[in-house]
């Protein structure tokens, strides 16, 4: 009897608690909808219009017209898309490798670990404009620290054209992008490493496993969930990143480092074609969603299989 009377009371209390929880979520949900969902939906809506800012009154609905034009006629879109993928892939790869190396080092009990952790976050926290300006100074062929040092040491005969030659510029922006991104990767991987029980390593050590075997059979599998999330997130951020390349090269030389966010920006604000730019941005969104879903599914399948 006592049980039956306490159950509805608990249920009522739980419902009351839930209501309070939902009520408290309302302001944040509204705010997020306002600043995130509305622009997203409005962007998709605009992508279905021939809408040029120079002729705002002549806006007309074209349905999938912009998408068809981009996908069937726009060679600039495809060349830009190709480099966008290359750029995002290598930035994620390099920042993952760098982040993992630093995370492994900082996971050890060393003196000043806190200071190192703080210092390593500097590339992540300094403003992109500051970072880009400094990189431009460092990479300048005549006055840049890197070229001057290498030339002074006799390691190179003539300056390396980091940003003035198409291939080197493509590589350089990937490295500056990775430099800016790796602290995030390091922090997330470090959190993942700290979640791995030390008992596993001790057992492996007792069974005669060395560093590399432990790393391969314990660390990497245990880091898989963190790796999945962090690389997917990083890929999305990098693919959508505008400032790193724009500030360093503005997409040059001769469009060698042009990526989709810059193309979308130019289309919107220089060509004034808001509808077409929104369509480019919408395609970017779809491409990223498909990629993220495929990646997650692939990893899930592997986990199930193993």
């Amino acid at each position: 009897m006592a049980m039956s009377s306490s159950k509805p009371a608990r249920k009522g209390k739980k419902l009351k608690n839930n209501r309070l929880g939902y009520a408290m979520l309302v302001p944040a949900t509204l705010l997020i909808s306002l600043i995130s969902l509305y622009p997203l939906l409005n962007g998709i809506y605009l992508s279905m219009f021939d809408y040029n800012l120079m002729r705002p009154k002549k806006r007309r609905f074209v349905g999938a017209g912009n998408f068809i034009e981009i996908l069937t006629k726009d060679s600039e879109f495809y060349s830009t898309l190709a480099y966008s993928f290359i750029y995002a892939f290598f930035v994620v790869l390099i920042s993952y490798i760098m982040g993992l190396c630093f995370a492994l080092l900082l996971n050890r009990e060393i003196k000043g670990r806190g200071i190192f952790r703080m210092l390593i976050l500097i590339p992540w926290v300094i403003p992109s404009v500051v970072a880009a300006t400094n990189w431009m100074w460092l990479l300048n062929d005549q006055l840049g620290f890197i070229n001057r040092t290498l030339t002074g040491m006799g390691l190179i005969g003539k300056p390396i054209l980091f940003l003035a030659e198409a291939t080197t510029a493509r590589v350089t922006v990937i490295f500056t992008g990775a430099w800016k991104s790796f602290p995030f990767m390091m922090i997330t991987l470090l959190a993942g490493l700290q979640g791995i029980s030390k008992d596993l390593y001790e057992s492996a050590q007792m069974d005669g496993a060395g560093f590399f075997r432990s790393f391969y059979y314990i660390t990497m599998p245990m880091l898989k969930p963190v790796t999945t999330i962090s690389t997917v997130l990083m890929f999305i951020w990098t693919f959508n990143n505008f400032e790193n390349i724009y500030l360093l090269t503005r997409g040059g030389p001769v469009d060698a480092t042009f990526v989709l966010p810059i193309l979308s920006y130019y289309t919107a604000f220089l060509r004034s074609n808001i509808g077409y730019a929104s369509a480019i941005a919408s395609i970017m969104l779809v491409v990223l969603m498909i990629l993220a879903m495929l990646y997650m599914k692939l990893l899930k399948n592997r986990e199930t299989y193993s």
Binding site: R55, M98, L119, I120, L138, D141, L143, L161, W179, T249
Partner: protein, 468 residues
Amino acid sequence: MKKRFATLLAVLLAAAQLGACAGGGSSASTPDPAPAAPESSNPSPAADSPAPEESQAAPAGATKITHWEMVNGPAATYGDAAASIVDRFNAENDQNIFVELQMTPWDNFYQTFLTAITSGAAPDTSTGASGQPIQYAVMGEILDLQPIVDQWNAEGSSVPSELPPGGLQTMTYDGILTGIPWAIDPRGFVYRTDYFEQAGIANPPTTWDEFLDCCAKLKAALPDVVPFVFGGGDQMGGQTILNFLVQNDTGLTDENTQADFTNSRVIETLELFGKLYDNGYISEGTASYKGSDAEKMYYSGTAAIWFNGPPAGLKDYPDVEKVSAIMPVMKGPSGSSARNYIWMNSIMAYTQTESPDACRSFIKFWIENELPLWTEGGCSQVPSVSSNSSNEYFQNIWYQKQFAELIIPNSVPTCYPAPAAYPAFSQIEGEDYYGKALQAVITGNRDYAAIAQTAHDQIAKALADYAE
């Protein structure tokens, strides 16, 4: 072991932080340059941050208008100078008009204006980049300022005749005067007189052949100095080639405002840059330089000739300033006369205003009383009204004087040889089609015809898009 890890980490961190704590690569004796040089059509070297805003309240019953003033000079002084003109207007006008001044930074100005206009939040009046008035006129957003000129003529004022020749015609679109030039932003070549002397160059070049010869002598005499520098990685690259194009009697379009980037004079211009690059007269990294990189190289003594606007930042480098001068205009092999080009920066009013007459009254007053923008505000451009530019203040600033004497009288507007500015120019300039043609040449591409054709097609498409 722990110590080793700590050391390894410290080394890795030092490498990783390199970019964050770098201070440039100039030698210890080389001072850092002033803020970046103009990147687009008009931002002045010190025009990056807004000055304090004017915040006086409008008197009751007054017609209130808002003026957006671009930061065209040092933030510390320019805003105050603009405010002093506005204060005078507010105090002296007898029509009970009150102007609220809002200083607007050049950063993202394009988006700022376009967003404000399309969302119905345009200011009543503003200054801005030279291409803006025509562009907004196409949208039907620009107020006709011809009544101001008519009033000047009725009053017998000398102002219309003191404006740059063709200045008003250049700003006329579809029968309306879209803006009135308030300042001229000239471009020219700043050079080191001491380097020229060391290279045995008696007079600065006046033709392209002399220019190439001059670069050859500089390279031979001063192997560590780059003969010619410009920002090839931003819009200064486009501005540089545009200057050489007008020297060779051509431009981005023909006289009928049709794309004209494949003619022989354009090819000659591209070939000139090919020669400059192949002979090492410009550094191999030029395609990556921003305007600020070129500025830094000139100030640090690494370059002998520098393409830029009036070099206001030189005042911080007195040793370099005393051996600097402005080169006279040059003539290309197919050019009919020696010339450079100038940007004409206008003040404009918007059709969204509820008080068009008040806007025109304010603009008229602004043009007639703009001198404090220079004498108090330190504006780096040159006044468009000739009686202002001949003021004693400008006679004491050597580069302003030399630009006024050597460059401006021999300059044409950026739309040359088209008779008037055209709406697509903003896009063509923003996307820097002609600058990309230059980049192709200075990154080693020698297929001049194909390079020119690509830029031609892009310009033609932009013109066609705007003609729709």
